[in-house]
Symmetry: C2
Subunit: 312 residues, 2 copies
Amino acid sequence: MNTITQLFKIQYPIIQGGMIWNSGYKLAAAVSNAGGLGLIGAGSMYPDVLRSHIQKCKKATAKPFGVNVPMLYPNIQEIMDILVEEEVKIVFTSAGNPKTWTSFLKEQGMTVVHVVSSSKFALKAQEAGVDAVVAEGFEAGGHNGREETTTLTLIPMVKAQINIPLIAAGGVATGRGMLAVMVLGADGVQMGSRFAASDESSSHADFKNAIIEMEEGGTHLTLKELAPVRLIKNKFYNDLQELYMKSPTKEDLVALLGRARAKRGMFEGDLVEGELEIGQIAGLINEIKPVKEIIEEIINEFEQAKRELPEF
Amino acid sequence: MNTITQLFKIQYPIIQGGMIWNSGYKLAAAVSNAGGLGLIGAGSMYPDVLRSHIQKCKKATAKPFGVNVPMLYPNIQEIMDILVEEEVKIVFTSAGNPKTWTSFLKEQGMTVVHVVSSSKFALKAQEAGVDAVVAEGFEAGGHNGREETTTLTLIPMVKAQINIPLIAAGGVATGRGMLAVMVLGADGVQMGSRFAASDESSSHADFKNAIIEMEEGGTHLTLKELAPVRLIKNKFYNDLQELYMKSPTKEDLVALLGRARAKRGMFEGDLVEGELEIGQIAGLINEIKPVKEIIEEIINEFEQAKRELPEF
């Protein structure tokens, strides 16, 4: 038991990050059934789709699970109402001000966690009354902070500022990675990329293959003028880089990005024109596996690393 | 004993990074005398200045020390001749192809280490015959790799590729940081920022104060069109950002950079117009201390962290 396993009533302090087009109820339920905390990623779901995933998740697992809600979601009030109606117990909020919804969610008796990329926002989240924070470093996939602070430096700095439980995210996909960030002060880990390349992820098989085939250095944080996002360097990324050579306006970038690029890449498997969001640690992920096996391997490696500590 | 302490015949696997305008013989000798490996940073020294620092270092310590040589140095042949003449035993090369000088240095009986920012270059260094590699992540201060791979993700990927000793750099300034990267597979650490803010660093007192006063998020990796470098966000940095708004050519950037910006910032203490190179972890460094105290604290924290491993 530690503060994270107690907070969520789970066996291992491993949270599966809410990822658009990857983390539907199948992935969330599989992670929760394997002893971690699964999160349904609401970011790519229409309200009725989210409701259906929550209902299916309740049937697929008797264990605690949660929902990740990017607060910039257009139908945010409708989403929050669904969480209440469906009696969701755990909510991870991201991409927005934690003050806006934390009180409301806490009044419903929910456990609330907010995702941050700096100590300053971690403190704001703590002041807003969240139960824990996820601190996510520069190496993480998808949307990311503007200060570009890496997980290795971010975790001890956040730890020094807050007194609520701390979950490390960005760059963790193994038991050794988990032990490393917990040595730095994290009470648990949130992993995205590792679970994106699982059997139970709802993303397209071709995207999963792209993750395991991706080599070190295969991602880049781009679109900083809009919202920084870490992508695989595919043709769409190269088109972006070409546009950048021409000193584009924000409007030019928005026009090239267009609509539904992320769905096209991750859900429909268009590896050429789609947006493929993944973390740097994908360079270390070489096999698509069932969630249960992933979690068992991580825990085994974590325990083994504890027995083989460095000496000199 | 481990592979790094054996290789260099030192007590602790802590290497002080060679840093322009910071690591003269006083810093290098202090680190070596305290049980780590001190490096004289040749990058900011004229050949005769380097020779003098090597001679003074030999008098200031009976322990092993080394010299860091950026291979893009204009007088590189002259520098290498000095290393031979002065019987330097340990050379760290950086910023260049390890094949160019490794054989020559090895033939002189020197221990040779090369600094890399990717597994690909780590393998190239191993093939060139170096004794160890330093793998340096995106969070490190000063000049940095183009792939922007962070230390947390870089170390396990390099470890999986090479079979010579591995030194982790970038984002490490504490005993917990040291344990974290060694759990990931490093055999030792190279630290720059922590030693830049030491009594024995040759940098200006005002620069040292800027390091300890710098807050999280206070650095940025910029000048990527020339050679990526991590700087404190001061007026010079802001001027660069303004220039970037105007779609500058490389020549525009070179013109704004001008000459001797790094000396002006770090050695002369011009915090406004100078180039102030430091790592992200400076946000965690709050006190200028003697080297001996820094190393003792790191080792104590490292040992304590090993006794307080995470449980759940």
